[in-house]
């Protein structure tokens, strides 16, 4: 068991969005979050990543196991692709960036500044960052935004390879990646909070 979430309550801006969220993700499995805009996909991911606190419920996740990738890729526009990747590799204590560069076809762009990349190229660099971290559990928020079809296919094969190696992933995406039986789909609208009420102590700050 890589991740076990039980009875989690998630809120954003003082409003309770999701109640009673429970699921498990095993090694070698992916969980795909679905739900309309504003249903709490990003908030749930941020809570799992530890950026936000959950109100109730528990998250069981091995420490130093997960890596989070949000809407923004965190690319420095004045650093080159290599420097950007090397920085994250060193932060996570790894060294090898060649495999990530190969898989995402970044070889030709390696010395280009981050600011000179297109939106899709930036996204590819952001996903390549996941590979260099060497972490097993990926939390991805809309990973396929602004990727072209070929890159989506590359991404899907990268996820499959990651799962085959015993890694796991949880992602919010609307695209069918063709992961087959390795992927469960979780529709968040079933966990929608019935009584969105303001938390009294936080209300004062809103």
């Amino acid at each position: 068991m890589t991740l076990r979430v039980s009875n989690l309550t998630v809120s954003r801006g003082g409003r309770t969005l999701l109640e009673g969220v429970s699921f498990d993700v095993d090694a070698g499995q992916a969980l795909i979050l679905r739900g309309p805009n504003g249903s709490g996909k990003t908030t749930l991911l941020r809570t799992l990543a530890g950026l936000q606190r959950s109100e109730t419920g528990s998250i069981d996740l091995a420490e130093d196991d997960a890596v989070y990738a949000g809407h923004a890729d965190g690319i420095k526009s004045t650093l080159s692709v290599r420097e950007n990747l090397m920085f994250w590799a060193r932060v996570f204590g790894t060294k090898d960036i060649t495999r990530a560069i190969e898989i995402f076809n970044l070889g030709d762009l390696i010395d280009r500044a981050g600011g000179a990349l297109s939106a899709g190229q930036k996204r590819r660099l952001g996903l390549a960052r996941l590979m260099v971290t060497g972490r097993k559990f990926w939390m991805l928020d809309e990973p396929t935004v602004s990727l072209d079809q070929a890159s989506v296919a590359q991404f899907a094969s990268m996820i499959r390879a990651h799962l085959a190696e015993g890694g796991s992933a949880i992602m919010a995406t609307h695209i069918d990646l063709g992961l087959g039986s390795d992927a469960q789909v979780l529709d968040l609208s079933t966990f929608r909070a019935q009584t969105p009420k303001l938390n009294a102590s936080e209300e004062a700050f809103l």
């Binding site: 606190r53 890729d73 420095k76």
Partner: protein
């Protein structure tokens, strides 16, 4: 953490990193004061330590909002917060990087600018010493202010207002140390107070900065 420090330094020295901004501002303040005050060397040399200190403090203030704002905007701050680096380590590294790119150049250029203000020769030593002791405190306190206002659009004004009162003790003892040293008076008390302030904020404030940063990233 060394990787983060090197990255921040590299970013600061690259185009648009804002490395020269504080230095240029310091230069402008110190060059303009003699024009405003008039060509009286006796008066200028008496107020020189104070002018250098006020100039250095304002130059420092100018670059504070860049400490976290750029990383927040492009999403790297979220990614850093979820990385293996402790938040306390991140804010400490940010403060060190800010001091190397802002405080250290100010310390080094201050005696050169002292010439423009007619600072007496024995004052060079004291202005370097007082700035070297005091500017780390300015960077650490400034990082705390920047962590408080991260995520606020155009938070620079609020940041300045929050940080300015916290800067006052450093300014008072720093300028007093430089003034007394220049005049050949006893410097023990202001030197101990200045060093004490720097040590205390460096030891305590990173924890406060990390706490407010975590709250602001929610």
């Amino acid at each position: 953490m060394i990787a983060l420090l090197l990255r921040d330094l590299r970013l600061a020295f690259r185009a648009g990193g804002g490395f020269g901004l504080s230095l240029a501002f310091f230069l402008i303040v110190v060059v303009l004061v003699p024009f405003g005050v008039g060509p009286e060397m006796a008066l200028l040399s008496r107020i020189a330590p104070g002018i250098l200190w006020v100039g250095a403090l304002l130059a420092c203030l100018l670059s504070l909002d860049r400490i976290f704002a750029l990383d927040f905007e492009d999403g790297s701050l979220d990614l850093l917060a979820t990385s293996p680096l402790p938040t306390e380590g991140i804010v400490t590294v940010k403060a060190i990087a800010h001091w190397i790119t802002t405080g250290l150049p100010l310390v080094m250029i201050a005696p050169v600018l002292g010439v423009l203000l007619g600072l007496p020769q024995q004052g060079y030593y004291w202005i370097i010493l007082s700035l070297a002791l005091g500017t780390p405190a300015l960077s650490v306190i400034g990082t705390f202010g920047a962590a408080l206002t991260v995520g606020i659009k155009r938070g620079g004004l609020l940041l300045s207002l929050l940080v300015l009162p916290l800067y006052v003790p450093t300014l008072i003892y720093g300028a007093e140390l430089a003034r007394r040293g220049t005049l050949g008076m006893d410097t023990t008390t202001p030197m101990l107070m200045l060093a004490g302030i720097t040590c205390a904020v460096t030891a305590l404030l990173p924890f406060a900065s990390a706490a407010v940063l975590r709250i602001n990233l929610r």
